[in-house]
Amino acid sequence: QQPVQSPQAVILREGEDAVINCSSSKALYSVHWYRQKHGEAPVFLMILLKGGEQKGHDKISASFNEKKQQSSLYLTASQLSYSGTYFCGTEMGGATNKLIFGTGTLLAVQP
């Protein structure tokens, strides 16, 4: 039931781009993306709702393909501040809007 993320880890140089994928075996109502820095709480980035929308702010955007039960997070022109572990959180809808978090992707941006 836990969404699977790929890659598990990625190392970038500043200014490079990255894509993080999140795949679920269950039909999804929404997908959230969070970034967690070491020793800190996860921080909300964005939410994508059923309907196949794409969202973005600054140089971070995401897409949601509900038919494939997949979401992707796109980081362009990466900055040092992008370093951290990225988690997708999937919601199946219904009576509860609890999130099930993915396996995580460790992103390290180097100067």
């Binding site: 959230h32 709480a41 996860p42 980035l45 939410i47 809007n97 609890k98 999130l99 978090f101 995580g104």
Partner: protein, 113 residues
């Protein structure tokens, strides 16, 4: 408050003891969640409150774990007869509802020795 507040930030307890972890969510957020996170893992769902009631407690590992939210704001996670395997960071989050992101607290690091 401005953010989600969790106390204590750290708790060391002996095996077999009882502990309480407190969460004060963002004012007005009716949805409150408890998760726990082990090193290198994603947050693992424990329980979800909508208002005062537990809407989904399917993530509580066993009957040693219990949570309350008597007035629909502050919540307390209670763990009886703690075991070393309970050691983790316990995260609380609140949300404005379906379609809104979660705001997490800084967590309580529980260590059972």
């Amino acid at each position: 408050g401005a953010g989600v507040s969790q106390t204590p930030s750290n708790k060391v307890t002996e095996k077999g003891k009882y502990v309480e972890l407190r969460c004060d969510p963002i004012s007005g957020h009716t949805a409150l969640y408890w998760y726990r996170q082990s090193l290198g893992q994603g947050p693992e769902f424990l329980i979800y409150f909508q208002g005062t009631g537990a809407a989904d407690d399917s993530g509580l590992p066993n009957d040693r774990f219990f949570a309350v939210r008597p007035e629909g704001s502050v919540s307390t996670l209670k763990i009886q007869r703690t075991e070393r395997g309970d050691s983790a960071v316990y995260l609380c989050a609140s949300s404005g509802g379906s379609g809104a992101g979660y705001t997490f607290g800084s967590g309580t690091r529980l260590t059972v020795v």
